[in-house]
């Protein structure tokens, strides 16, 4: 486990010196989504002016779309880090000296995966905590309480279940794609395609006003779990020492 941590630290040090795309993917896009979530709340309705009787209904409408934004975090953030983790090793031809150390391929795989999944989850949760803090600070005191009553279980499911599954899905898909292509832009393009089915499912649920149903979100999580298991199997096959040395180009 110690060597896994060593590789993860290297991944982060390298990735965040890797250029604009990493910063855009991990910091700029989440900030935009957070801004959009808050804009949604503050621009569409003045909750201070809403009567206590109408407040639950208004909150029910206003808080649904921000949930969609927060569900996009774990899809967007790991995408660039996971691609970079594989492509930079390939481009710099650093895999052979790395594999010549006592590092196990399972440790290498785990390090590459966690180096993408962990920041995605931490940023998602931190952004959501900030979102809640802003609501508590700037909106009427009972708004958060009403929102929690209506969305509490959904938020927990989205952030506690969907977010790890989605971050793992994007990471594993991006890693598998990056092992098989020789160019960074191609990897980014194909990896973006992998994100589309999940995003479209989420938008579909929002526009049909079904995202608020925990059973449907649970179904989406179950589908992601199946995909994650499949992608894990693919990645385990790809992360063999001989496969890496002879087939990763």
């Amino acid at each position: 486990m110690k060597r896994t941590w060593v590789v993860m630290r290297k991944e982060w040090r390298e990735a965040f010196r890797g250029g604009k795309t990493i910063w855009i993917g991990t910091i700029a896009i989440p900030l935009i989504l957070l801004g959009a979530s808050l804009f949604q709340l503050f621009s569409l309705s003045d909750l201070h002016a809403v009567s206590p009787e109408e407040l639950p209904q208004v909150v029910g409408v206003l808080f649904l779309v921000p949930l969609l934004y927060f569900m996009m975090f774990p899809l967007v953030i790991p995408h660039q880090i996971a691609i970079y983790a594989i492509m930079s090793e390939k481009e710099q031809k650093s895999l052979e000296p790395l594999l010549a150390t006592p590092l196990r391929t399972s440790e290498l795989f785990l390090a590459k995966m966690l180096a993408s999944v962990l920041p995605a989850l931490l940023i998602t949760w931190a952004a959501f905590a900030l979102f809640l803090a802003v609501i508590q600070a700037l909106l009427p005191a009972n708004v958060l309480e009403i929102a929690w009553q209506q969305f509490g279980s959904l938020w927990l499911m989205a952030l506690g279940l969907f977010a790890p599954l989605a971050a793992t899905f994007m990471t594993l898909a991006s890693m598998a794609i990056a092992t098989r292509v020789s160019d960074l832009r191609t990897a980014q393009l194909f990896s973006s395609f992998a994100m589309l089915p999940i995003l479209l499912s989420m938008f579909f649920l929002v526009f049909r006003q079904m995202l608020g149903r925990p059973a449907l979100l649970g179904g989406l999580c179950a589908a992601l779990l199946v995909l994650d298991v499949g992608l894990l199997w693919v990645n385990v096959k790809l992360f063999h020492r001989e496969e890496i040395l002879t087939r990763w180009r």
């Binding site: 060597r3 000296p97 150390t101 002879t246």
Partner: protein, 302 residues
């Protein structure tokens, strides 16, 4: 230090290395020569515990590469064909990463030792991407030595370097050899192999020849003496000498093949003088390793 027995590696139907057997003693600098695609890198990867052989076995530093590849990897250092450094990280962070992977007890001491030894200490905080090719190669060598391996595999260590940088690297390899490390050197640079290696092995999927550079030359060409005369020699009788294997004439020059010039040169020269030869110069014909290499590879093709 390295023992390989019938080491074979197949990739599908293609045989990369076939029945390779060799023994390399501790402290030896062994040169591994062969054309592109001959199986040099595959052999290194098998011996360094990176690739499993399809059949055969190898013991490196007393450890079986098939049974304990991870243990082998802690005992050997490898300099691949490409330095494979992290260009955005500093020289220090590159080495620190590897020192942590090897779980070195005093990583900072080791990093400083090799950065100073290879003249990179002043540039330790600079990103490796700003380094020259020679500096990168030196840093990659430092990385391979960081954990003080008993066996060092060097794949084309001077490839693409300017003459000055190549000489620095060669001198450093010679220094490592004097420290009794076992060095397995893959190279296309035959001058380098001749300068550094105690023995060389020629490979083209299978081992063609193995031996010290001088003995390979002797085996292939015998030993030839070049005698330059003042005037062409007109012989009234045939100079029958039992130790002379062949005589070639080229104007005022005689090319004589002998088994043991140190022993037989005095008698040969005495006989030639008796026959009226006016000898200006006597020297041994030197063959290069390049000639040996090209002839053996051509012979293998036929």
């Amino acid at each position: 230090m390295i023992v390989a027995e019938n080491l074979t590696r197949r990739f599908g139907d293609r045989i990369a290395v076939e029945n390779l057997s060799l023994e390399i003693a501790e402290g030896e600098v062994f040169g591994f020569l062969g054309p592109n695609g001959a199986g040099k890198t595959t052999t290194v990867r098998m011996l360094a515990g990176l690739l499993a052989p399809s059949s055969g076995r190898a013991i490196v530093a007393g450890v079986d590469v098939v049974a304990q590849p991870q243990r082998v990897r802690t005992l050997v250092g490898i300099l691949p064909e490409h330095p494979g450094l992290y260009e955005k990280l500093s020289a220090w962070h590159n080495l620190k990463f590897y020192a942590d992977l090897y779980e070195l007890p005093s990583p900072h001491t080791q990093i400083e030792k090799y950065l100073r030894l290879l003249g990179l200490w002043e540039r330790r905080h600079d990103p490796v991407g700003t380094f020259s090719k020679g500096m990168k190669q030196k840093l990659a060598i430092a990385r391979a030595l960081l954990h003080e391996p008993k066996v060092l595999f060097l794949d084309e260590p001077t490839s693409g370097l300017d003459p000055e940088a190549a000489k620095t690297v060669r001198d450093f390899i010679a220094q490592l050899a004097s420290e009794k490390r076992t060095i397995f050197l893959c190279t296309h640079n035959l001058y380098e192999a001749e300068q550094l290696c105690t023995r060389i092995g020629l490979i083209k999927q299978r081992l063609i020849k193995i031996g010290a550079p001088a003995s390979l030359k002797r085996e292939l060409y015998g030993r030839q003496i070049v005698i330059d005369l003042k005037e062409p020699l007109v012989l009234s009788e045939d100079p029958h000498l039992p130790f002379v294997r062949s005589v070639q004439r080229d104007g005022r020059r005689l090319l004589i093949e002998l088994d043991d010039p140190e022993q037989h040169n005095p008698a040969l020269i005495k006989k030639l003088v008796e026959l009226g030869a006016q000898i200006q110069f006597v020297r041994e014909q030197s063959r290069t390793l390049e000639e040996v290499y090209l002839d053996l590879i051509a012979e293998e093709r036929q």
